[in-house]
Amino acid sequence: MGELWQRLSAPFTALGRAVLQSFERLGHSTLFLLQVIKGLPAILLRPWLVVQQLYSVGVLTTVIIIVAGAFVGMVLGLQGYNILVRFNSESSLGTMVGLTLVRELGPVVTALLFAGRAGSALTAELGLMKATEQFSGMEMMAVDPYKRVLAPRFIAGVVSMPLLAAMFSAVGVLGGYVIGVGLLGVDGGAYWSQMQGSVDFTDDLMTGFYKSLAFGFVCTWVALFEGYDSVPTSEGVGRATTQSVVHASLAVLGLNFILTALLLETS
């Protein structure tokens, strides 16, 4: 009888344990974040570290962002035209492309691409440093890895994200123009004037900006934590890198819903 009970309750115990473990991990990662933030003032003494990280996190992600932005913008142009032409509203293509990009696709797709490219690179780099005992080495040399390694990467990520999202949206809007106006015959003037009429600076552009800041915060936090906390073996680093992308992506999508609900004005 006892064994039957054990077999039946096993999945529940496992679930319970998993939930407790994930809370523990969340707490662990929050303490980690606080340590990183504590180390931020020190980077004022060493701006070169941030510049270096801006290069590897921001500059190197730019190409994929711009290419993706162009393609997404072009597809929006195509699909948007296809749908709007049924209602004879193809002149509103500018509105559709502009709002879709600035409000949602710009921040979200950029964040997902960032998690995949820059986030995974950060995690792998930190995991490798951990596996080769570089953090231990630093601590023994009385160098604080939070100040020297983690804080610069964190700032670079948070700063890069809104810039990348803006580039994505800007290129996307141009891509939509090329397809809509250049290929499908939407009136060029209408494209821009309709867009300008409906994309509000505060409600749409600024909320998109705040979103991308929040995404930058979350993506970089996840990437740094997974790397710093990884198991120092080659298998552990590989697993940490995958987890980093998955967790960051899910967090971005979940956060996007929450932020959209909060920031969307129902006027």
Binding site: L128, M129, T132, E133, Q134, S136, G137, E139, M140, M141, A142, V143, D144
Partner: protein, 274 residues
Amino acid sequence: MQFDNKTGTGDDILIQVRGLAFRRGSRVIFDGVDMDFRRGAITAIMGPSGTGKTTLLKLIGAQLYPDAGSIIVDGQNIHELGQHALYNLRKRMGMLFQSGALLTDLTVFDNVAYPIREHTDLSERLIRYLVLAKLHAVGLRGAADLMPSELSGGMARRVALARAIALDPMMIMYDEPFSGQDPISMGVIMKLIHELNNNLDLTSIIVSHDVREVSSIADYLYVIADGRIMEQGTPEQMKDSRSDWARQFLNGLPDGPVAFHYPAPDYGTDLFGG
């Protein structure tokens, strides 16, 4: 090879370990260990793999905190220090990791210069003199512009050693410095450890299981197993040890108190029975 061992100036104890207890999960790593590390001497810690020798170094360096007991380094209980005092003490301790732990994105020169740049305000010209001098001491002055990925394991270790002595510490801890080295590199490392200890007035702690190499340069040995000290003494004393265990370990005998066979049921019954 026999080296002339320094007997040490006086009985001054640099590091005193008392009642050290540490467990990882349910495994007891240390169970009430007392050790003394004399100033100016080379003390070796030996034992089978996995007995926590590296853990001991991490405890001495306060990267880990013990469950009980104390470690007094140069008169200070290292685990009771605040972050600032701890970092100051760590600047006077050098550590050589098994893998070297060089920063992979810096050149050899920058790696050795790293602690100097972090903790002092010296001009680049002075730093250059210091770094080249340290590299010269380990015989790698010509490799200053190489990247860590271009170094062999032995060379990386020597660079790490140069980095460990960059700030002229009072002591150095070596984590398995001889493991995986060819005989020539082995000889080089041994020479370096011995010379640096004497020339720079260092106290050295070597963690290793290479009995022959360590015995030839160490002034005092501790053999640890099962969380306790099994044997301690000078190399001569160890050679005459009565303990079966010590004899098995020091002579590398395959069977003895540490059994050859992993616990298993009777061979006959296992093959033919049940």
